[in-house]
Amino acid sequence: MAATMIVAACGSQPSGNQAVTFKGTKKVGYSAPLTGQSALYGHAVSQALNLAADDINAKGGVNGYKIEMDIQDDGTTVPQAVSNTKSMILQDNVVALMGSVTSAQCLAESPIAKQNKIITIDATCNSWQLTMESDVVNPYWISIVPNTYMEGTAAGRLAAGLGVNKIFIVSPKYLFGISETNAFVAALKKANSSVQIVNNPSTWYVPFPTNPRWDSTINAIQAAKPDLVYSNIFAADQINFVKQALAVDPQFFVKFPMTTLVSVDELNTLGSQYPLGMHAYMRAPFFALQDNNSRLADFITRYRAKYNGEYPSDWAVMDYDAFMLWAQAANSAKSFDADQVVKQVSGHTFDSLRGYKITIRPNELQANVGETIGTTTSSSAYPFPILKDSTNLKGDDLMMPLQMVNEIKGDQCDGTAGQPNTANFALCPSWKAS
């Protein structure tokens, strides 16, 4: 018999001070990089998920159960993420998972979650292969993060609009980096076929996680003298690269401007050291999404109050959304069964902290979430740069065309059918025709 628990909601929780009766407790799992290359992201996501669980519990929980986060450190490694996922499912009996940080981890976790029929809401790892390639796809995997096709397309259009001729690429060498860089190059070439990538494709990628020294890449950029550097390196890698490049020359990013993936975490860590004038693309920067957005404003206030004044990063915003989406769908399904919950997700529309509603496209269970682009500039309101002239690109304009999704799912774009990570959208008949 499930234990009955009485908890008192406290503080500024949404439902106020009222007693909530629970049938028992259910756990939601998250394999978190609390250490290692992406520790910064795991820290933010964990905080957001705990806040989301508190908010949900203050409103009565999910299906009458109190929700408890089960967060286990994976050190930003694949083997530990796999071990955590197995332990959370088989020992802790989690009813849902939140997607890990890196695509390599998610790629390894997804089959385990699928086999055990545990729904996963993914708000960080974002390789499009995770929701489309038939060798990988998991019917219980929901992506509410702009995937690598959407993000690479946004970056490619951003770079093409800068009117540059010579571009240098640097990217982490694993599924995410390769997938996003391919989408970037495709969108760039589509918008401006004369643009030249100055480094050989085999040198686009750096080992991940990498040596903390970036001398080779910085020197290669100096030698190639590009008009623009495109990068999707992130977390500790981006911070080390920026610091070491600025030591080589404070004008490094003036000489070699960058179009780069950024999150509030990198901006906040480097603060005033973060270069201005960077052409950034971001997933959910709170400072660009808060106009006329009382829901986000309330979240920021409560997040900062709970976590020593920290600003919520993009990861915190997206994972709060992920948890809330799952909770709403599970409540609508009146069940924790993955099939029932997915039915309440697929094709449905949800509120989001991002200031717009998001809809989950049934074909690949991908949300039509947007991407924010702009140029870094100093801010008097925050202790780190923000974006000027920022634009929130609409997810619907970035999503992969349905025909292409269906071709990928039908193995028409697969370099080696039957093997994971071999699908390439550039091989799709509809892409070639376009």
Binding site: L34, T35, G36, Q37, A39, L40, G42, H43, G75, T76, N200, S202, T203, Y205, V206, P207, P209, N211, P212, R213, D215, S216, T217, I218, N219, A220, Q222, A223, A236, I239, N240, K243, Q244, A247, V248, D249, P250, F252, T269, L270, Q273
Partner: protein, 292 residues
């Protein structure tokens, strides 16, 4: 590749080698003298980096960094002394696996403690030696050049300590025959503590010097340890000259390997291929001495 580019990548390789040597020097010293593979070496390095960043950010990058460096070396040396007395004395002379487990346990305790004390967020500090040198159309960071000089000085200092001082003579004698050294009136137990304190202090020096060039987090202890061990194995565990040569090989292989389209994909693998080849051909490393 033009001569200017050759120089550019050579200096890049040297910077990388300097960074790795600074970390590996203390590791090698401790193994050479105590025959202990110290898995907690990265922990001392990490503690020193945090101490340096905190102090430098409190009182300014210039004075703060140098003050922080001194404090960090003192703190890591003191912690090293405690670890030697409380942990290592119980595992000397036992098989390497026990020593590995003992020092690994220390590294886990330190990692947890650092996370509690300093939190999960990355920390950064401005360079105490800003500026750059332009040569042949390319820029070189003053701080990278400083790291190269610091590595040379550290290497020379450790070598001089080992081969030009009474302490060094005793350390070498302890490696050869600790019982005989003890019989001559030298307190070998205290000597071992001294060596470990110096090794920990060297790790601290490395952490302080590296701090302005990268993000400091509670995982930098493990980031560096794998390559530091590779260097020590290539050069010969226990040999300072070997560590320098090993670092140079690894730094250059990575620097040139990553920018060459033909070798980019294997640049890091080359390091371990070289390490494996050395282990097959000369298991004690290029400059290592056979164990008694």
């Amino acid at each position: 590749m033009t001569p200017g580019q050759l120089l550019l990548f050579a200096v890049g390789g040297l910077s990388n080698a300097a960074y790795l040597f600074i970390v590996a020097a203390g590791l090698s010293l401790v193994f050479g003298a105590l025959r202990v593979i110290n898995m907690a070496h990265g922990s001392f390095y990490m503690i020193a980096a945090f101490v340096t960043v905190v102090i430098a950010n409190q009182i300014g990058a210039q004075l703060g960094f140098w003050g922080g460096l001194l404090v960090a070396v003192a703190v890591t040396g003191a912690i090293g002394g405690l670890v030697e007395v409380l942990v290592l004395r119980r595992v000397y002379g036992r098989e390497h696996l026990v020593q590995l487990l003992g020092t690994y346990a220390v590294s886990l305790v330190v990692a947890g403690g650092v996370r509690i004390v300093f939190g999960a967020n990355y920390r950064t500090v401005a360079s105490p030696i800003p500026g750059h040198v332009d040569l042949g159309g390319y820029s070189y960071a003053n701080y990278s050049l400083f790291m190269i000089v610091a590595a040379i000085l550290i290497g020379a200092g450790v070598w001089a300590m080992l081969y030009r001082t009474n302490l060094g003579r005793n350390i070498r004698a302890a490696v050869a025959d600790p019982d005989l050294l003890n019989a001559t009136g030298v307190n070998v137990t205290r000597l071992y503590t001294t060596v470990f304190v110096i090794g920990a202090g060297l790790a601290g020096l490395g952490g302080s010097i590296v701090a302005p060039s990268q993000a400091i987090s509670s995982s930098i202890d493990t980031d560096v340890l794998v390559l530091a061990f590779a260097i020590s194995v290539i050069g010969g565990l226990g040999s300072i000259i070997g560590s320098a040569v090993g670092a140079l090989i690894v730094g250059m292989v990575v620097s040139y390997g990553l920018v060459n389209p033909r070798t980019n994909q294997f640049a890091i693998a080359f390091v371990f291929i070289i390490m494996t080849a050395v282990l097959i051909v000369r298991p004690r490393g290029l400059f290592g001495l056979p164990e008694n």
